[in-house]
Amino acid sequence: MKRLLGVALGILTAIGGFVDIGDLVTNAVVGSRFGLSMVWVVGVGVVGICLFANMSGRVAAASGRATFEVIRERLGARAGLANLSASFLINLMTVTAEIGGVALALQLASSVNYLLWIPVAAVAVWLVIWRVRFSIMENVTGLLGLTLVVFAVALFLLKPDWGSLAGQLAPAVPEHETFWTYSYYAIALFGAAMTPYEVFFFSSGAVEEGWSVKDLVQSRVNVLVGFPLGGLLSVAIAGCAAVVLLPSGIAVTSLSQVILPVAEGAGKLGLAFVLVGVVAATFGAALETTLSSGYTLAQYFGWSWGKFRRPAEAARFHLAMIVCLLVGLAVLATGVDPVLVTEYSVVFSAIALPLTYLPVLIVANDPQYMGEHVNGRAVNVLGMVYLVIILVASLAAIPLMIVTGAGS
């Protein structure tokens, strides 16, 4: 019974934890401009993140080594440092976007300007990282994030014409968009679903919680059930935007437009739920990305790390995270639009994908690390297929960004 509860809790937090500011914004933008014609990209992204999250979790459980230790060891100091620089900067951009997202959501809930909420959000993130136990942190934000299910509820309450909505599911470029903007947003959506920090966080979290090979079955269930359901949540966000915003020709540029369809479909109560959900999802992701920036640095340089240690026993790790939060604060204090930061962060995430996923795939095949738990053939075939997809997306992202003027 206790085991069953553990599995249920794990699945629920995986669903609630799947959506972050990148998923919220990108799905709403895509829904408002392309309808449901990119649902297939979410599908491809979800299968990919399941595959690689599982793989990095297995590496961490079998060898006790988290992703960035493995990256340094495999790529060497020089290529490892190049990888660290890129991954770390993109992660820092995501930290900034998530904290901005928390502040924007609090602004919508309170009518107090988001710039005033930013320091509050950053201090709250730091306090949780400083004091709260890892499992409590994960479960509370994950469960509260579940209130985003209200997007799916709102979609039903909006009573859309299901036939025409289903008709949008086929991958096709809408008349008023070009093939290039379509491809650009497809890559952004793919990057939002597969953000590398999820792998850093997932593998380091496995070490934090002291997983052994015995826990792998449960983690596999969490990922394989939780992430696809989280993907459905993403689709519901796009669906809401496609039903309400697409016909009126509103392209999403702010967080208030992301949640507008919920207010229309589910009223004030729905609005309350969605605000709780957005705050929880972005706050949870702010914790995960801030921790990930500490994890990547500490694992590259071999510092002591982890929330399971006292802060004084992982001093450089904690100092690095404090500095990251301060940098994020400084960037947001310039008044840069957090939604814009988010839109860029998901595209840059897509560019950086091969840096994370290739070393994970290599080590998951290394018997010295994995013993008998090396990848099976089917996983490797799928992994290679994804490596090709990831490489194509990564190489195409910058040219497409230039050609489309970042999707405008």
Partner: protein, 136 residues
């Protein structure tokens, strides 16, 4: 490299495990005897004749003397070599086990390699309220 035509005698067979410095030592995590991370192996120090000195026949083969960390990581990536006094060494005698990680037989608390960690701990992190609070 010998300039004469005679080929080198093949290396004698050694008992025990053969370690490839690049594959099994470099860039691996180092843990102390309590399993606390100390550093990553940034470089290795070998004994033996100085660089570019002539090697006479009968000179003993170089042996691994220490794991290096500190500024040597920067020079390994960007080129050059820090003076010997700036190298932070973990003597090879302290290494107890070589596996996916290198385990030391000593505590990391007394090692030079941990001074930055200790400085940041004592001067910054431990002074923030709750810095010594056990999260579990």
């Amino acid at each position: 490299m010998t300039s004469s035509g005679d080929s080198l005698v093949p290396a004698p067979r050694l008992a025990g495990r053969t370690l490839d410095a690049q594959l099994h030592l470099m860039d691996r995590q180092v843990l102390d005897h309590d399993g606390v991370p100390v550093t990553t192996v940034d470089d290795l120090e070998l004994s033996g004749p100085a660089l570019e000195a002539e090697i006479r026949p009968g000179t003993p083969a170089p042996v691994l003397t220490a794991l290096l960390t500190g500024p040597v990581l920067g020079t390994r990536i960007f080129g050059g070599r820090p003076p010997s006094s700036r190298l932070i060494r973990i003597p090879w005698e302290d290494v107890a086990e070589v596996d996916v990680v290198l385990k030391l037989g000593v505590s990391g608390e007394r090692l030079d390699a941990g001074w930055v960690e200790r400085w940041i701990r004592d001067k910054i992190i431990a002074r923030i309220p709750g810095g010594r609070h056990d999260p579990r």
